[in-house]
């Protein structure tokens, strides 16, 4: 808590108690807004797309009767354990070959296939009542209906918790925009904070305070859901 309080305190300090750092940031640094909304955009899009991929993927891994399910899950686990820096270069090469370097898609695409969401969903789905899913399957032949009306309906807390974690991860991402993006207008708030000394005025601390707020709001809203959601 102390670093947060000190960041808030420092944001009102410029040789003496002053609002100057805030006015410098809010009125004199227009690129800040672009980067802030870029962060929000990346985080929202990635959360939605990653959940759309992770839920059916985990459902398939849990319910499908096929060989190699455990191996696939193991690969996902290994992927999740890998440090981000290890996958950055292969991702860069792939994106470069697809012509997606310096595009928003270049940031979104590798993130939506992250293993984190799939693993969390998979572990939660393992605890679901299998009989209920079987019963639903007898009612309808549509797997999608079973997924939406039976599985997703029971997994709301897990989905919300995962969404909050993914949002926080994407909102805080730094390496990907620094490596995959060259255009300043596509970069996110983390890069702004990283390069705050390039801007005139003492904008680092007020920018850090604003940077804290969206994730803090999400946490305060969903703190109970988060606790329940991560109980696997």
């Amino acid at each position: 808590m102390l670093p947060i309080l000190s960041t808030v305190g420092m944001s009102f300090w410029q040789e003496k108690l002053s609002l100057k750092p805030w006015t410098d940031l809010l009125f004199d640094t227009p690129i800040f807004y672009r980067m802030f909304w870029n962060s929000v955009f990346y985080a929202f899009v990635i959360v939605i797309l990653e959940l759309c991929i992770a839920v059916p993927c985990a459902f398939g891994l849990v319910t499908a009767k096929m060989r190699g399910k455990k191996i696939i899950f193991m690969i996902y686990l290994i992927l999740m354990m890998m440090p981000l820096q290890v996958t950055l270069l292969p991702n860069y090469i792939g994106l470069r070959d697809m012509g997606l370097i310096n595009t928003r898609m270049g940031i979104i695409l590798p993130m939506i296939f992250s293993a984190f969401g799939i693993i969390i969903m998979h572990q939660y789905m393992m605890n679901l009542d299998e009989a209920q899913i079987e019963a639903a399957r007898l009612e309808t032949s549509s797997v999608l209906k079973v997924l939406i009306y039976v599985v997703v309906a029971q997994m709301k807390t897990c989905i919300i918790a995962t969404a909050v974690f993914i949002f926080a991860e994407c909102f805080n991402m730094l390496e990907q925009p620094m490596l995959f993006l060259k255009d300043e207008r596509l970069k996110n708030l983390t890069v702004f904070i990283m390069n705050a000394s390039d801007y005139e005025g003492k904008v680092l601390f007020p920018a850090s305070v604003i940077f804290l707020i969206p994730v803090l709001i999400l946490y305060l809203y969903f703190n109970e859901t988060l606790e329940k959601g991560i109980k696997l």
Binding site: D28, P30, I31, Y33, F36, Y199, I217, L220, Y221
Partner: protein, 136 residues
């Protein structure tokens, strides 16, 4: 419940402020700057005395209105600040010739016709960011 309501209120305030400032921070910033009008000096023909002789020679020089010659002169120049082009006032010292009619000729060789600040809402200082009302 009370905490949730306060949190909702704070959330709404935060997001509305961010949306509002995204669209209007530039206008608010311009409003807070010193509002100035600029004048683009034009070349005029002046009768000037030669360096070595007393003979008068006709020469084209940048001309400024005589009342401007009695005050400190500032030029408006663009410079990059925080990733975008902004306009700043820069104090200049120019050598003025003999007044002819309503104009002074600018004799300085280091003046290249930059726009001069004609009037401002408040006292200008060197290097101050300004908002030019009649910038083209």
């Amino acid at each position: 419940m009370r905490v949730k309501k306060s949190l909702l209120f704070f959330t709404l305030i935060f997001w509305f402020s961010m949306i509002f400032l995204t669209f209007f921070s530039r206008s608010l910033h311009n409003y807070m700057l010193n509002q100035v009008e600029i004048y683009q000096p034009k070349m005029r023909m002046f009768s000037l005395k030669g360096n070595d002789t007393e003979e008068e020679v006709k020469q084209k020089c940048y001309a400024i209105p005589s009342w401007m010659g009695e005050h400190d002169l500032y030029v408006a120049e663009t410079r990059e600040k925080n990733g975008e082009e902004r306009i700043f006032a820069r104090s200049i010292q120019v050598e003025l010739g003999k007044k002819e009619g309503l104009f002074y000729p600018i004799m300085s060789k280091d003046y290249f016709g930059e726009p001069l600040i004609l009037r401002s809402d408040s006292v200008l200082s060197d290097g101050e960011e300004i908002y030019v009302k009649n910038w083209r």
